[in-house]
Assembly symmetry: C2
Amino acid sequence: MTTDNARLPTLEDVARLAGVSRATVSRVINGIRNVNPELHEVVWNAVNATGYVANRAARSLVTRRTGTIALVVSDSESHDDDPFMSRFFSDPFFGRVVGGLLSALRPAGVQLALQLVGADQARARLVGDLRQGQADGSVVLSLHPGDTLPHLLADAGLPGVVIGRPARPVPLSHVDVANDRGAALAADHLVARGRRRIGMITGPVDVPASVDRVDGFRAAMARHGRSYVPAATGNFTHESGERAMRELLADQPDLDGVFVANDLMAQGALSALHEAGRRVPADVAVVGFDDSSAALAARPQLTTVRQPLEDMAAEAARLLLARVDDPTLDTTSVVFEPMLVLRASS
Amino acid sequence: MTTDNARLPTLEDVARLAGVSRATVSRVINGIRNVNPELHEVVWNAVNATGYVANRAARSLVTRRTGTIALVVSDSESHDDDPFMSRFFSDPFFGRVVGGLLSALRPAGVQLALQLVGADQARARLVGDLRQGQADGSVVLSLHPGDTLPHLLADAGLPGVVIGRPARPVPLSHVDVANDRGAALAADHLVARGRRRIGMITGPVDVPASVDRVDGFRAAMARHGRSYVPAATGNFTHESGERAMRELLADQPDLDGVFVANDLMAQGALSALHEAGRRVPADVAVVGFDDSSAALAARPQLTTVRQPLEDMAAEAARLLLARVDDPTLDTTSVVFEPMLVLRASS
DNA sequence: TCGGGGGCGGAGAGCGCTCTCCGCCCCCGA
DNA sequence: TCGGGGGCGGAGAGCGCTCTCCGCCCCCGA
């Protein structure tokens, strides 16, 4: 507190102490051009002696860089204090993405800022703020298909990378997992386990990741000569998985295997199976998707398709950083391979 | 992309269009002093016409405010890519705190930046960065007792609020839940349910929240005339809860009630009880702590002590904002009341 | 009618950096 | 010995704001 009014050292102070100009200190600190090695040392000594740290605001005023990347969580059309938001934040999904982003951003000395946008006007304001130096670029996490934010960013020429394939094509890079191949792994596994009557619990029909999982699963089952796959639809929540499982059992009482499009629903499905007196995996084998903490918390623990979210987020950060450095870079998309994780439920 | 090189409008542009000086535009935008109402409108029209958004860097260079608050997750002594970190981020705890902070920060137009610190040198660097305008203040989430960061912040005179009571007193405000009273609620409830042989699974012995829960539980049990409470120690993870429950059962085979110091461990305890052939709640009643998503995912769903984390985080943000506005403010601590949430496990 | 006070708006400095431009010096080659 | 080129470091402008200081004008009261 008492030290608060003590003026912090500036470049000027360091320069005076080192006996050189401000420009030279700046060059040394930023590693620009060849500066006489002796001066180099003199300057660093002065920096350490004064405890100098460059002022971010002054630097970014001239460089037009903020050293900040925004993680924008975009929840189409919903209200700001929508319970969905708080549900989302308490979902491990969010934390894994944050952890992955930070792992790539920290070594680059870039800070991560969190942005939520609900209403469309908030989205427009965000774009304005971003253009005016709120952040150098954004990693976008859209919670709903048909979100307009990626398009707004692209139109404004702002660097952005989307996590998960957008519902409509957009001139922005994105990272994703091969949802179709992941679902195929689940299908191959259930068939290999000798299951004959295999069903599926899907996610929302308008979400690309969900659609890809359904398509991938059906295609793989068809390759095994199973053209008919009974299915029930959920919305990726625990409760919806429980309900969908009940529906599926009512329809297909002799079911002996089920692929559930995410772990949370699979956990719900386990409850419904337990309630219906089916043993897992003896009577019904269950395979989830994500390899989230829910898979480990489930009893029995879930066999599931691992989605390397941390790696995906880290890659998104790297793509974004590259684009910030060179805005002429072409957009790309990086698709990660899923992996089947065997546990007790199958 | 093509619009990228188009210079963005500055105060100067708005002033020219409105036919006033830069100072006047600045006054209107920031709502300072009485400006002639007619001019007021002229200026706002010019702002809208140009699409002007104030440049953050320029503004904060002179105001010495960044409009950013840092959420600092401080993991004492651990390495940066410690698995503990990624485990922490995927824990719903983190997301709930973030959601609560954002709910209080957004209305104030303040941005949230994420900072992780592991090694001590990172801690020193962070303090330097913060002093030099990385953020106006920090909300600190210490993952280990004895973390030095709160003290470093206090010594540097930087505004900071700690979530959870620090192990050693520190001249910084903090928010917490009354862990002792929460544990007492659990004790009262188990006794009221007619349980006679009640045990407890505790968290780490050096974490204040854990210690408070143990003390609160023992004190309440003593009030009910139960001076002896068998206990086993865990470390707040699912696995440790499972192991501790097995130990407790081995010690006290006739146990009919157990208080588990967090939901994750309680979920593990349920598995151990199931494995041991005990029915919950018929044979053993189980009460958790936190009311996290694990409580809902558990089967049976957990009776638990609700910790209002979102509210606590929002209050932390408000305390911090107040202190940033007025650094002479006294430090305070706000303690939230816990609440017992009744579900199927008791 | 004249003096004084209050309030509004403009001029201009200054926040702390980076970066361009230029001058000087040194060295090398003819 | 002299000319030219290269490289290092300094001077100074400028990034886009805010804020102090001051002048001017208007109105009111004596």
